[in-house]
Every structure is written in C-alpha cells, then in structure tokens.
C-alpha cells in the first residue's frame, strides 16, 4: 500500500495510487472453486510463473475505480463542446436495452435460427440508415469512423480495379480529419491537398486543376470541419464524376443534417456514419464506436462481409467470402459492433423521423447562437452562418503572449471542457465549438459568458489566469514533453 502518509487536507480531492501499488497476495475479488488439475493436457507448453498482478478484494476495486472516475470530466458532469465529436447526451434507456439478456448474451456463431431477433435488429438499423441517407446499401462492418473510411475507399479501389483502372491519388481538403489521409495511405493511395476558398470551402479551381485520370477519389466532409456547408457540393460531385473519380463523404458531421436532408441528394458515392456521434452511443473515454458505411448501387457489390439480409421470411447473414464474389473481403471478425447497433437503433426509435429532424435543427441553432454571441467579442474565422459547429482562431490572441492552449486551459477553470483545439489546420490556433442539440440556452449562455469574460481578460492584459491555468482542476498543467522524453508506459515494481 502506497498511502504511507496521512492525506490530511485532501478532502474530496482524489489522490488514488495505481492499482498495482495497492496489491498484495492472497486476496481475491471473485470467488472461484478450488480446483485441482488431475490431468494437464498442455502439450509442450509449460505452466506460467508469476505474472505480477496485484490481488485485491471487490470493495477495494470498486473504490479504486470510483475514485479515479471522479477525475474525469464527462457529458454527464458538464458542457463538452468538443468540435467534430458530437458530445451529446447518452440516453440511459439505450444502456438498459443493450443489457437485455436476449441481446447481450448471444454468441456470434449460434445457429442462425437461434438469433433471428438479433439479425432483425441489425436489419432494421440497416433500413434506418439507408432511409436517413437515401443510399441504397449500408455495410455494418466498420468498427469506427476511420474503419468506415477504409471500407469506402477499399470499395472504390475494388470498383476501379474491376474497371481495369489504375488510379493512385486521393484528393483531400486541408480541413479534413487526419483519419482521411491516413486511411487513404492505408489503401495504398498517395494524397494531394485541395485548397480552400476564403470561406473555408473547397476551392473549385483548385479541385478542377487537380482532377485528372490519376484521381481515384475525392474525400469531402460536409458540413466541413470549419462548420461550413459545402454549398457547391452538387457541382463538386458533377466534376468528380466527370473525371471518372468517386466522391467519398466523411460523415462525422452528419449531426447537422440527420433527418433534414438525405446525403444521397448531394451526389455522394460513399459515406460513413459515426454511430458514437450522431446516434449517441457513448464515447466511453475513447470508444467503442461504429462506422457503418453507406454505398452507392455501383459500389455495393464490393462491400465487405458480413451483412444481414431478409429472405424467404427469415433473416440471414452473409458471412462466407465465397458467396459474395466481388466483396472486398472481411474488415474484422464476427458480426461487428452489435452493442453499438442496439444503442443506435434505440436512439432512432426514441427520436423518430420528427425527433431526428429536430436534432439537426437544434444542433445548428445552438452552434449559430454560440457563434453569434461570441462573435460580438471576437471575430469568427468565417463570417457565414455555420452548421452544427462554429470556428474561431487565435487572431485575438496575437501579441498577448497567450496561446490557444492557454486559453483552453482557462476554460477548464471556468468549469467547461474546452472545444477542439488546433483543428482544423486551415486556420491558426483553431477552436472548434460543437454544442450539440442536448444543451439548453442557459448552459450555452453560461459558456458564452465565460468565453467572453476570458476574452476581456486578454484585452486587459491579464496573463496570469491563462499561464497558470488550469488552477481548479485536480491536476495542474501536465508536462507532455517530459512524457515523450522519458517514456514510462507501464508500471514496474521498481518505478
């Protein structure tokens, strides 16, 4: 036990040692039978020695994790306007449904006849996603957004191969998520940038100049990460298709459009949907997510396996690569992110088409309200109305000696999770604010008041509250350079 000294003065401030520092031997948090092995059938494999794991009782474990949980900011505890992440409320009904034994406690390799309900659920979700996007096919395989990008790009690659076309370039605007170019590289493509116009949108001239017979696909995010709708999207789609390339849409920002328009009407060929964003499956400190990917009629034949079909009055799953001839293959084992599907479908049913339309409308209303209020104090990066998120940059900080990072940390002292910082890369010192549809006016006002108050502090030359921030968080500014310099990635008995 590491707590050698009294922690007098700590109060409710949680100083919790590592679980390895609280361990001992000869305890257990799970009761198990005392089993003696009469026979050991491990072949030439030896039985292992000491692992080094600590022994603890259940109350210790509960207390450990409860204590460290209190060091996390979360949607449940406050406003979390992290741009491009759609940190909206996570309904608890979704958790309850996902834990029904008939959904949680089934194995992917049970006979098909014994999982008809589970397949029906996936099928229904497929139908919802198709209807909401207007696209004819959805692949449920991808485990997250980036995995969905891979699914879309590999389908495009398969289609080009099938046509005997060797195209090696994917065009991506500078404002795109980092996953876009990373996914393109994963598929063996080289990437090239499309420049933006003065409103943060794709520059049509730049696009036109780079579109040639070497371009396989153009990846757009719409609305883009500047919070602006690509209003020339139909023209972009037309030119991309005329050049024989495909239009991939990053659906991370689908929250601005869900229930309002069908992305199919924007002329796209493929788009992933982050269920953990638009459809509110919990972000869980980094995951899991799911990235079902909708595909055009032409690309559908190349979709990965598995997918769920309804035929002869029963549900079935296509999981054999040999029965799906043009399929690009398998992107992961089993039938994908069922737990996420359950929560997403619950979200869809709870909202209905009327509620989903309000989701996009309110998220856009909220972002514009925040933008309008803050714009009275500092200039937004782009003047236009925004969609579901709004972008500011560090031009108001110039000459103050304060960085976007300092400003963000000061927002922590005001009680808020900072917006996404330094992204997108098209403006300097970006701050991307996405309030989502979950937040009421009172919360937005509190946030805007704090933001504006901090800007006033900058204007009056008060540096300390920024350089010393955060002061009211359980940890003060953490040294990231030290972490990278003296790599310590695990606990060791000697550390």
């Amino acid at each position: 036990m590491i707590l050698k000294e009294s922690s007098y003065g700590a109060g409710l401030d949680m100083h919790e040692p590592l679980i390895f520092e609280q361990g001992n031997t000869g305890r257990i948090g799970v009761d198990l039978p005392d089993t003696k092995l009469d026979t050991i059938r491990l072949g030439k494999c030896k039985i292992r020695n000491t692992i080094g794991l600590p022994d603890l009782s259940e109350p210790q474990v509960i207390r450990h994790y409860t204590r460290i949980s209190r060091n996390n900011y979360s949607i449940d505890t406050g406003f979390y306007p992290l741009g491009s992440c759609s940190m909206k409320h996570n309904p608890r009904l979704n958790e309850k449904i996902a834990r029904l034994p008939g959904l949680k406690d089934i194995h992917p390799f049970q006979p098909i006849s014994s999982v008809q309900g589970a397949l029906e659920l996936i099928y229904n979700l497929q139908e919802w996603l198709k209807e909401l996007t207007g696209m004819p096919f959805v692949s449920i395989c991808p485990a997250a957004g980036a995995h969905g990008e891979l699914c879309g790009l590999l389908s495009i690659k398969a289609s080009l191969n099938n046509k005997g076309l060797e195209r090696s370039i994917v065009l991506i605007p500078e404002s795109a998520h980092g996953t876009n170019p990373a996914s393109a590289s994963f598929c063996g493509y080289t990437t090239d940038k499309i420049e933006e116009d003065s409103f943060g949108r794709i520059n049509l001239v730049s696009l036109e100049n780079k579109l040639d017979e070497n371009v396989a696909a153009v990846m757009v995010t719409n609305p883009n990460t500047c919070g602006v709708f690509e209003k020339d999207i139909l023209e972009i789609s037309k030119r991309v298709h005329e050049a024989g390339a495909y239009l991939y849409c990053d659906g991370a920002n689908f929250n601005a459009l869900v229930g309002k328009i069908k992305p199919a009407d924007l002329g796209i060929d493929a788009m992933h949907i982050n269920l953990h964003k638009t459809f509110s499956t919990p972000h869980g400190g980094g995951g899991p997510g799911a990235g079902p990917t909708v595909l055009s009629e032409e690309l559908a034949q190349y979709a990965p396996i598995p997918h769920v079909i309804f035929t002869k009055n029963k549900y079935d799953i296509i999981e054999n690569i040999n029965s799906s001839r043009n399929s690009l293959g398998r992107m992961r084992a089993f039938h994908c992110q069922m737990g996420t599907f359950i929560r997403a479908l619950t979200f869809c049913l709870s909202h209905g088409k009327d509620g989903l339309k309000k989701v996009s409308e309110i998220s856009v209303l909220n972002a514009n309200y925040v933008k309008s209020r803050i714009s009275k104090s500092i200039k937004p990066s782009y003047k236009l109305n925004c969609m579901h998120e709004c972008l500011f940059d560090d031009s108001f900080l110039r000459g103050s000696g304060i960085t976007t990072l300092d400003f963000a940390k000061a927002l922590i002292d005001e009680g808020f999770h900072p917006p996404t910082m330094y992204f997108p890369l098209v403006v300097k010192g970006a701050m991307l604010i996405e309030p989502t549809e979950s937040e009421n006016k009172e919360t937005l006002d509190l946030f805007c008041n704090s933001f504006i108050r901090l800007v006033d502090q900058i204007k009056s030359g008060n540096k300390d509250i920024f350089l010393n921030a955060p002061q009211y968080s359980p940890w003060k500014r953490l040294d990231e350079a030290k972490a990278a310099r003296n790599l310590n990635l695990r606990w060791n008995k000697t550390t």
Partner: protein, 452 residues
C-alpha cells in the same frame, strides 16, 4: 421529445440573437433540391415504454447463451462477468467522456489506461502495450502492417490454424499495399506443431513476419521456440495471436517464447459475448518498437506541481498529427471495453486469473474425458486449453441444429468458417468454461450418445 432542451420562447430568443426568423434560414447553403420535398419513410418518436416493448419483443427470437448448456467458442467465449464490472463502466464519468485530449480533467481515463497497458504487458509477457485496438482481428492486421514497417519486407507466413476470420481481416488490410500472404496448410487439426516444419521451411530473407496463434483455432497448445529461433535467424518478426486471453493465466506467455508482437482478443474478460462486438484488441510488443506501434499510448509524467499524472504520448505517430504518414488510421478505439477488461482483471488479480484459467482447463478436461467414452466420435487434439475439435460420423452442422432444437448449443461446426479443410464438414469445435456445470456436460454427452 424527452432529450431536447428548448421551449418555444428560448428558440425565438435564440433566433433573434442570430438575426434570422426561422431555423431553415440557417440551412440556406444546402442545395434547395436536397432540402425540399424530402420524405423519410420512418415512424415518429416513441416513449421509453414503447421502445422497451419493441426491443423486448425482438429478443424473444433469440436463444440466450447464459440460459442453456452452451459450448460455442471459436474466438468468442462465454465467461461469468462480476457485477462490479458493469456497475463501474456505467459511471457517467467513464461512459460519457471521450479520448482524453485534456489531460488535467481526464486523469480517470488516463490512469485506467496506464493500468490497462501494464496489465496487458504483464499477461502477455511483453515490455509495453498500447491503449487498445478495435478487437483482436484488426489488432492482428495492424501487427502485420507494423512488421512490414519495421522490417521493410513484404512476405507474411501464416498458419492456417490462425482464426479464419482473422486471416481474412489481415488479407483485407495488406492487399492494397502489396504485402503477400503465404498460408501454410493445416494437415491435422488439433496437433499444435503439425505444420511447424513447413512454416520454418518458408521463412527466408524476404519474410517480414510469421503469424501463429495459441491456443490455435482448433484449441491446441504447445511450444513454438523453433519458429522463433528461425525468425531470429532471418530477421523476421514473430506475431503471436491469442483469441482466448484467459489462457494466459495458465500457459507460459508469448513473451517467453520469443514473440515480437502479441495481439489478443480481450473479450473473455469483462466484455461479454454481445453477438460479436464491440470487443477489445490487446496489442503488446518490445519497447524498441514503440514508435512503430499503432493506436493511442498513455505515458506517465507530472504536473506543474510535480504531482504524478498521465497523458497521451508519442502523438506524432498518429493520424491527427502525422496524417498520411501515420502508423495507423485508428482514432476511436475500444476505450470502455478496455476499462471493463481492466476491472475484471483487477478483481481476479494474480490469484484469480490463474485460478479461473485452471477451472477452465479442468472443465475442458472433464468434457474431454466424458467424450472419450462416446462411440463413433474421435477427439483430434493432442493438447488444449479450454477448447478442442472432435470429428463426428456425419455433418456437425446437422448435429448442432438438432442440439439447438433441444436447447443445447453444442459447439461450432468448423465448416462455418473453414471452407477448404478436408473433412471439416464433420468437425465440431467445442469449448468449456467455468460456466459449464457437470450437469451441462452430461446433457451434451447424452445428446451425442443418443444421436450417433
């Protein structure tokens, strides 16, 4: 609608602040063609009660694993999950936060991931681990890509005894970048070292990595030091896959056998079956390869006052910094499943982890011994942990469906995943865990006796 925040007054005040008269004006950049006349053939919103009724009704058409004698494994295993796990992962602080970009207010997630990395390193017997991948299969594919980056070679030697869906996943990931997969046939399923000679014979100076699995897809276990020696000789990396992570409580870990990268499916601890996902991929390797590793990594540091704390580190490997040159495109991972895994392993501790592994081996032994007495079926394994393959006189699929009608999940017909193996039609893969009682096993054995 219960999740939406505004009353009419708030909306009109907000609209007037923005300077528009209605919300639709904010969508003025959207092509009118797309905005007008859009119709969704979908129902309107439902109350909690209505949704619950609808979903419960769906579940009636599923046979629940925990309510019947259950023997299916094949890469996903039914284990008992202590109640504390589900309680903790539902705390809003864990459930409703995201990637810990703001370290000062994310120490809960960061500390738990640092502990997770330590646990994964310990059980696999490796130096370091990352903060999780989507699942075991995608982790194996990432491992192969990493081996390609390290060795700058492109030949992969893989045994057919690796989970077939993992092999298919690897294929999908390597196809576009020109790595080549050499699959070594399995002649005798259930014999661990069966094709090791041929594997060793195919390792050469062009080999980036060799991929094996333990326990292998057919459940057998053993030693693979010969392969690791040969890998060393040619500078190829040895990637070891583990689909049943609980086996690491009993078997000498891959780190002791000379593995360079170990990838595991972590589902057995804390996560549950959930019809195949979300699961959690474990990824561990040597410290010298850390800069080649995919995924998030948490490192220890201190704050301004010298207090120990944790941050995401080595971000320059990752897509949000490095973009097209990143080691992986992964962003969202398996955070909450990694937490569930960690909590379960913390509850078990050294004592419990080993004990649970022993119970599993004992249960499988009990089942194996009982099946030895059944005429007409043959047991193919020379070794196993908690799963093995048997050969039936006729189609294993027919038998499984017969058993299903009788309320028993008898196992996994090998032909559901293996399309090319001779005689796979009659092979059945059976797993036993701590959840299988003597009575369950007796019921299954009786079913075999009655059927054949």
């Amino acid at each position: 609608m219960r999740y939406l925040p505004h009353n009419d007054e708030a909306i009109s005040r907000m609209l007037s602040e923005i300077g528009v008269s209605e919300v639709d004006e904010l969508f003025s950049d959207v092509p009118s063609k797309a905005l007008k006349n859009v119709k969704f053939n979908l129902p309107n919103h439902m109350s909690e009660l209505e949704v619950e009724r609808y979903m419960k009704n769906l579940t009636k058409n599923n046979l629940v694993a925990s309510e019947i004698p259950f023997f299916i494994g094949g890469g996903a295993y039914q284990h008992h999950i202590p109640s504390a796990v589900d309680h903790i992962i539902q705390r809003g602080e864990f459930l409703t936060s995201y990637t810990p970009y703001q370290a000062e207010i994310s120490q809960g997630t960061l500390q738990s991931l640092y502990e997770f990395q330590t646990q994964v390193s310990m059980i696999t017997g490796m130096e370091i681990a990352n903060a999780s991948m989507y699942d075991g299969s995608t982790a194996s594919a990432e491992a192969v890509l990493m081996a390609g980056r390290i060795t700058k070679k492109n030949k992969i030697v893989i045994t057919e005894a690796v989970h077939p869906q993992w092999i298919e996943t690897i294929k999908t990931f390597i196809n576009p970048i020109g790595m080549k997969l050499l699959k070594i046939k399995k002649k005798e399923p259930g014999k661990f070292e069966d094709n090791f000679g041929e594997i060793c014979g195919n390792i050469d100076k062009d080999t980036a990595c060799v991929v094996i699995q333990i326990p292998d897809f057919f459940g057998s276990v053993g030693s693979y030091t010969d392969i690791s020696k040969k890998c060393n000789e040619y500078g190829a990396l040895l990637i070891v896959c583990v689909t049943e992570v609980l086996s690491l409580g009993l078997l000498n870990p891959p780190g002791k056998f000379g593995a360079d990268i170990v990838v595991c499916e972590g589902q057995s601890l804390g996560v549950g079956l959930s019809f195949g996902g979300p699961y959690v991929g474990l990824f561990s390797t040597h410290k010298k390869y850390v800069r080649y590793m995919p995924g998030r990594i948490v490192g220890q540091t201190s704050d301004k006052n010298g207090k120990r704390g944790w941050v995401l580190t080595l971000n320059t490997r990752e897509q949000h910094i490095r973009r097209e040159k990143a080691t992986s495109n992964i962003c969202t991972n398996a955070g909450l499943c990694a937490l569930a895994f960690s909590i379960h392993l913390s509850l078990l501790g050294e004592t419990g982890f080993k004990k649970l592994a022993v119970v599993n081996h004992e249960r499988a032994n009990f089942l194996y011994d009982a099946l030895l007495l059944v005429k007409n079926i043959s047991l193919l394994n020379d070794s196993f942990f908690n799963e093995f393959v048997i050969s039936l006189p006729s189609s294993s699929k027919d038998f499984v469906e017969h058993a299903c009608r009788k309320g028993i999940m008898a196992g996994l017909p090998v032909e559901r995943l293996f399309f090319s193996l001779p005689n796979s039609k009659n092979m059945l893969l059976i797993a036993a865990t701590e959840l299988n009682t003597d009575n369950d096993i007796k019921k299954l054995v009786k079913l075999f006796k009655d059927y054949f």
